[in-house]
């Protein structure tokens, strides 16, 4: 029953997003002062940036919860929080990249250059680099518990540092930027129909993020269980691989690399 509700909800989400696409091209009017059809990309670009931002906050919150929050049996920390943080970082990277690319395309049309260190461009690039660094750190640590601990500490540090971008970057770049560049973004008087589509799209992307986040967290949980089973039951790499292939529905390239990691862990 629960599964059926989830399936229905995901179909509803797809319909909702399809309606947003139609609305963005057919229902919403073009914004004044925008070149050509370029304002339509904002219905996707802005929600993507929101989703990336939400992902960043989500990752930070789960990391702090991992470090200082709940406990599970046997272990001082709850690995579920770690998986949730990692899934959020990965999705944040995805949404952040999409937001950056769509933003750069729009910026080329409106401002004449793909890139000009607008305050928001600066902060999203920092978020991307941060997410990449987080994943690089994870790759560089072998032991699972240690990896989770260090990565969570790094994400928490990121959560402490990022507010400074919001205070510092606009103040500095404002003095470098000519007025009109900043003003081009300030669309305070928005057409109500544009606002409706934008908010609908924002809600859709937010739901999409949390849905994907749930999926990714569960995939990571299954992958961890496979690893654990391989480490506990099978001393050799070949049987670990057998365990890995017994879950073919995972469909994740990461699980292909798991037997190697599993054999390393058992040999330790």
């Amino acid at each position: 029953m629960k599964k059926r509700t989830a399936v229905a909800a995901s179909w509803l989400l797809w319909l909702w997003l399809a309606a947003v696409i139609v609305g963005a091209f057919e229902y919403a009017p073009l914004a004044a002062k925008f070149i050509g059809q370029s304002s339509r990309i904002l219905f996707f670009h802005v929600p993507m940036a929101w989703a990336a931002f939400t992902a960043f906050i989500t990752a930070g919150v789960y990391s702090v919860r991992y470090l200082f929050g709940g406990r599970s049996q046997g272990s001082p920390r709850d690995p579920r929080h770690d998986r949730a943080a990692r899934a959020a970082i990965e999705l944040g990277l995805l949404f952040g990249l999409l937001a950056t690319v769509t933003g750069a395309v729009w910026s080329r049309i409106m401002w004449g250059a793909y890139w000009n260190w607008d305050p928001r461009q600066t902060s999203i690039v920092m978020a991307l680099i941060f997410n990449g660094a987080y994943l690089a750190l994870r790759d560089a640590v072998e032991d699972a518990e240690k990896r989770a601990r260090l990565a969570a500490a790094y994400a928490a540090l990121g959560l402490v540092v990022t507010p400074f971008f919001f205070f510092v970057v606009p103040r500095i770049t404002f003095s470098l930027h000519p007025e009109p560049v900043i003003n081009a973004r300030g669309r305070v008087e928005m057409d109500p129909r544009m606002l409706q589509v934008l908010l609908a799209s924002g809600a859709g992307f937010m739901a999409l993020f949390f849905w994907l986040h749930d999926l990714r967290t569960r995939v990571l949980a299954v992958a961890d269980r496979v690893l654990e089973a391989a480490a506990a039951g099978a001393p050799s790499a070949s049987s670990a691989r057998a365990t890995g292939t017994s879950a073919p529905h995972l469909g994740e390239p990461r699980t292909g690399a798991d037997p190697a990691t599993a054999s390393q862990r058992t040999s330790n």
Binding site: L67, F68, M126, I129, F130, G132, A133, A136, L137, A140, V141, E142, E145, K146, R149, L150, A152, A153, Y154, A156, L157, G158, V160, V161, F164, F165, F167, V168, V169, R171, I172
Partner: protein, 226 residues
């Protein structure tokens, strides 16, 4: 802890020599490629602060992670875990990094000014910026160093991880150094606007220092203890 750190440092002189040599080398490269006249007049107070802080950042990245990596490599980390509480350890390492950076700044900043033919309009602000910036640099890199010491590929990883953490600091420090070189505001207006701006930036820099140090004190125990 702080005393122990310096004793072992004086015995090997590894970090100190590397840092000083690295910083001076970079300075020479920068200065030589700019040519005998320095940067173009008029542009110099815009670009030179960036170069100064880049030299400091890379020198720090070359020397500072050493302090934790060394503990892991020689397997003295376990003894340290037993001997000292994490917060004492963090403060000790931080104080060590701080003095190291202060020494580095005391070496590099006058040299930089001399080589680049710079006049400092507000020396007090420059010193305050160097002090506060050095503190933030030390606090941020100490925590990141503790993180990467337990991972593989330490050197590169330090640069990758510390960059996003230290960037707000660098932006602020460069901005402050710029206004220290150039003096506040356009002449004739008493520099009031420039002074207010610099005051805000200095406040934010100190806030950053406080935030990163607090985060370090809170996060270090979980990074350090398995």
């Amino acid at each position: 802890m702080f005393a122990k750190e310096w004793r072992s440092e004086i015995r090997t002189r590894y970090a100190l020599n590397t840092l000083a040599l690295f910083a001076v080398n970079t300075l020479v490269v920068v200065s030589a490629s700019l040519g005998p006249l320095g940067a173009a007049p008029g542009r110099s107070s815009e670009t030179l602060p960036v170069l100064l802080w880049l030299i400091l950042l890379f020198a720090a990245a070359a020397g500072l992670p050493r302090s934790f990596v060394h503990e892991e490599e020689t397997q003295t980390a376990t003894a340290l875990r037993l001997a000292a509480t994490p917060s004492a350890l963090f403060c000790g390492k931080l104080a060590y990094a701080l003095t190291l950076l202060a020494a580095l700044e005391a070496l590099v900043a006058p040299l930089f000014l001399a080589v680049m033919n710079l006049d400092v309009a507000r020396p007090g602000l420059l010193i305050a910026t160097l002090a506060a910036g050095g503190f933030g640099l030390a606090a941020g890199s100490t925590l990141v160093a503790a993180i990467i010491a337990q991972a593989r590929g330490k050197g590169t990883l330090f640069a990758v991880l510390s960059f996003p953490v230290l960037l707000p600091l660098l932006l602020l420090a460069v901005e402050l150094t710029r206004s220290a070189f150039a003096g506040g505001g356009p002449p004739g207006q008493g520099g009031q606007g420039g002074q207010g701006e610099a005051g805000v930036a200095l406040m934010q820099l100190l806030l950053y220092d406080g935030a990163v140090t607090t985060a370090g004190l809170m996060l270090f125990p979980v990074v350090w203890n398995p």
